[in-house]
């Protein structure tokens, strides 16, 4: 993964991206705040959501086995995938067993995470994305920059041009209705002819084996009801204990995600029902690093995430750099704590530092993930793993030593006042050598005081 600072630098230079992102995140933020303010018990809901997820994580083995039994009893098949390769192989095997060469997909970050589409393609199976934003990205050969609105980095004109080049006529305009209609025509054909669908799941209910998909467009409904074979890939952390628990999450998720009281389509299905819907149903339970996250006492709260993206929309860093800069399917604040844990801190050592620790994410998280605390925890892990630059280590150890005693601290302060003299112009420092040049490139610096506070205090007595 490319270091965040370099990727961010590039993204910040893209004015179109910044404008798109700024507008979109502000709009969603305002919608979210309005509908959250409507609920007098939002705080209690949030605590309930956090508690339910904490219970699931603490008893995951039990709930997973309960879920497996329930799905099997209801006529479905359960597969366990330790990693991405296993999951992809399992999906491919199911497709091959039915001689399927094209599958329709419901938007699923989990399948993006494991690179399912590429794996299917390599196996001779074409995966068609049916969520509008995912379809756009697929046609464009691009990848998601936002958990909820993956094509947020594109505007309507860019989309019109893309459609003209792929699925629509040259006469296509950029009116959103026209663009949606073009996509609808294209997708309707796919839905009616598909013989297998692949979905993810927002929630999987342990006691009944029910699986739940929350969506806005209806493509999920099409995919999960029309094709005869349905495969659902779900991260093991997505479980909830009972059907009643969904009541909490179905209030938390739409309000946090799209700023709606309720999303347009919520689909729930259990196993198979003879003569109605898919006649063959498979659930693939995915680990792919999740048990590694679970093992970390501080970091495991990241697994509570219900993928609402409220943290992205409120993050001053994400809203300026966009998702690609994070180099992962999970960007923004949640990405900064989940990605390094899923893949190992050495694969993403700069992500925990891609934050000013403002805490706005924690404020809006519907399951109360204390993202700033996990960021600090992961920063400590990078240092403990020996991933900090030697010069930084030295500087921090030096500073720690200086702060450890009054006299040495006062001496350092005095030396600093002397050393800064060549750099101070008209009461300001405008230029410093590296690494502080990173500051003075764009900002002036208040010099060290002519007299330290402690010297002033001593002298006034």
């Amino acid at each position: 993964m490319r270091p965040f600072p370099a990727a961010a630098r590039e993204a910040l230079g893209d004015a179109q991206l910044r404008a798109n992102l700024g507008n979109a995140t502000q709009t969603i933020r305002e919608k979210r705040n309005r509908v959250v303010a409507e609920l007098a018990d939002w705080g209690a809901l949030r605590e309930a959501g956090a508690a339910i997820k904490a219970d699931v994580l603490a008893n995951l083995d039990r709930y997973l086995e309960q879920f497996e039994q329930a799905v099997t009893d209801a006529g479905g098949h359960v597969h366990w995938a330790a990693d991405a390769d296993e999951a992809n192989s399992q999906v491919l095997a199911i497709a091959r067993s039915h001689n399927v060469t094209e599958v329709v997909k419901v938007k699923s970050l989990t399948t993006d995470e494991i690179g399912l589409n590429d794996a299917l393609e390599a196996g001779g199976v074409h995966a068609v994305e049916t969520d509008l934003a995912e379809l756009i990205l697929q046609l464009d050969g691009d990848w998601s920059s936002h958990i909820l609105v993956p094509a947020i980095h594109l505007n309507r004109t860019e989309i019109r041009d893309l459609f003209r080049a792929t699925i629509a006529e040259q006469s296509l305009g950029d009116d959103p209705r026209e663009l949606a209609e073009a996509a609808r025509r294209y997708l309707r054909e796919r839905f009616l002819t598909a013989r297998m669908a692949v979905s993810g799941a927002n929630f999987a209910v342990a006691d009944s084996g029910a699986v739940c998909v929350v969506e806005s467009e209806g493509n999920g409904r099409m995919c999960t009801t029309l094709p005869p074979v349905l495969v659902t890939v779900v991260g093991i952390e997505k479980l909830v204990p009972t059907f009643t628990d969904l009541e909490v999450f179905l209030q938390l998720l739409p309000r946090s995600a799209t700023g709606e009281r309720m999303n347009p389509y919520t689909s729930l299905w259990t196993g198979v029902t003879p003569g109605d819907g898919p006649q063959e149903f498979h659930v693939i339970l995915l680990d792919a690093g999740r048990t590694r996250v679970l093992a970390d006492e501080v970091g495991r709260q990241a697994l509570r995430c219900i993928r609402c993206s409220a943290c992205l929309n409120v993050c001053p860093v994400y809203s300026r750099t966009g998702g690609h800069a994070y180099g992962s399917i999970y960007p923004g604040p949640i990405g900064a704590i989940l990605t390094p844990q899923l893949y190992g801190i050495e694969r993403a050592p700069t992500l925990p530092f891609a934050s000013s620790l403002c805490g706005a994410c924690y404020e809006v998280c519907p399951v109360a993930i204390d993202i700033p605390s996990v960021l600090l925890h992961l920063r400590a892990k990078t240092v403990a793993a020996g991933l900090a630059k030697p010069s930084e280590r030295l500087a921090m150890e030096g500073a720690g030593w200086l702060f450890g005693g009054r006299r040495r601290f006062a001496l350092a302060s005095r030396l600093g006042r002397l050393a800064q003299r060549p750099f101070v112009r008209a009461g300001r420092i405008v230029r410093l050598p590296p690494p502080l040049s990173a500051w003075t490139r764009t900002r002036d610096l208040h010099p060290l005081s002519g007299e330290s506070f402690r010297d002033w205090w001593e002298h006034r007595r």
Binding site: P5, A8, C358, G359, A380, A399, G400, W439, F453, R454
Partner: protein, 228 residues
């Protein structure tokens, strides 16, 4: 009341004017200020950079130095927040300045006069960690002739974030630029906050832009009486 002052490493070496103003305000209100001279730093920089053992040592050092002091005040909400998180027993003993004045001493009018238009930047720590609430605003509203103006996007971070300002300098700068634009748009001649660290960032960018707006810590404004 006898109040021990924790000036912070930045407060001691960079922004000594804030410490002097803090003493002025407290003494004007009739309190005795003491300065435990062994003090240095709360360890926030080490916590934030992932150097936990060093940070813990500095936290312990703070606890030892201030052991005998019942009431401690600091003009830095971020340092107060950091220390109270590391040592929760400090709640009720360690206060950020506006918390002490309004919450503990029950004072909003400290006898200050400052006839200027002032914008208040609510720092992230004071909003979400130290939770100072309305205290700074109540104090500013009681300053004679001060015209207090609201910032657009008031809860948005200024981009300092400690080493973030260096490690992710471009993103930090982009945030500072937006914060400064919001400040300049109010027509304020002064921007204030309860954290010198944020004011270094904001002041540094305002200065680079030649915006003609200066930064003053809340303590400095409260110290102003209009008398020479």
């Amino acid at each position: 009341m006898r109040v021990a002052l924790f000036i912070t490493c930045i407060g001691d070496t960079v922004t000594a004017e804030v410490g002097r103003a803090t003493v002025t305000v407290l003494e004007r209100l009739g309190h005795e200020v003491v300065f435990p001279r062994e003090q240095t730093c709360c360890g926030q920089m080490h916590v934030n950079s992932g150097y936990r053992p060093a940070a813990d040592a500095l936290g312990e050092r703070f606890m030892r130095i201030f052991e005998d002091h019942e009431t401690i005040v600091s003009p830095s909400s971020s340092c107060v927040g950091t220390l109270r998180e590391l040592h929760p027993e400090l709640h009720g003993r360690l206060f950020e300045l506006s918390e002490l004045l309004v919450g503990r001493l029950g004072v909003t009018d400290v006898g200050a006069s400052f006839p200027h238009r002032v914008a208040y930047h609510a720092t992230c720590h004071s909003l979400r960690v130290t939770n100072v609430g309305e205290a700074p605003l109540e104090l500013l509203r009681a300053v004679r002739d001060l015209e207090l103006v609201e910032l657009a996007q008031p809860r948005e971070c200024c981009g300092f974030g400690g080493t973030f300002a260096i490690k992710n300098a471009e993103t930090s700068t982009a945030m500072a630029i937006d914060k400064c634009a919001a400040i300049v748009a109010t027509g304020a001649s002064v921007v204030t906050a309860v954290d010198s660290s944020c004011l270094l960032q904001i002041g540094g960018r305002l200065s680079r832009e030649g915006a003609g707006v200066r930064t003053m810590h809340l303590a400095e404004i409260l110290a102003e009486t209009g008398q020479p």
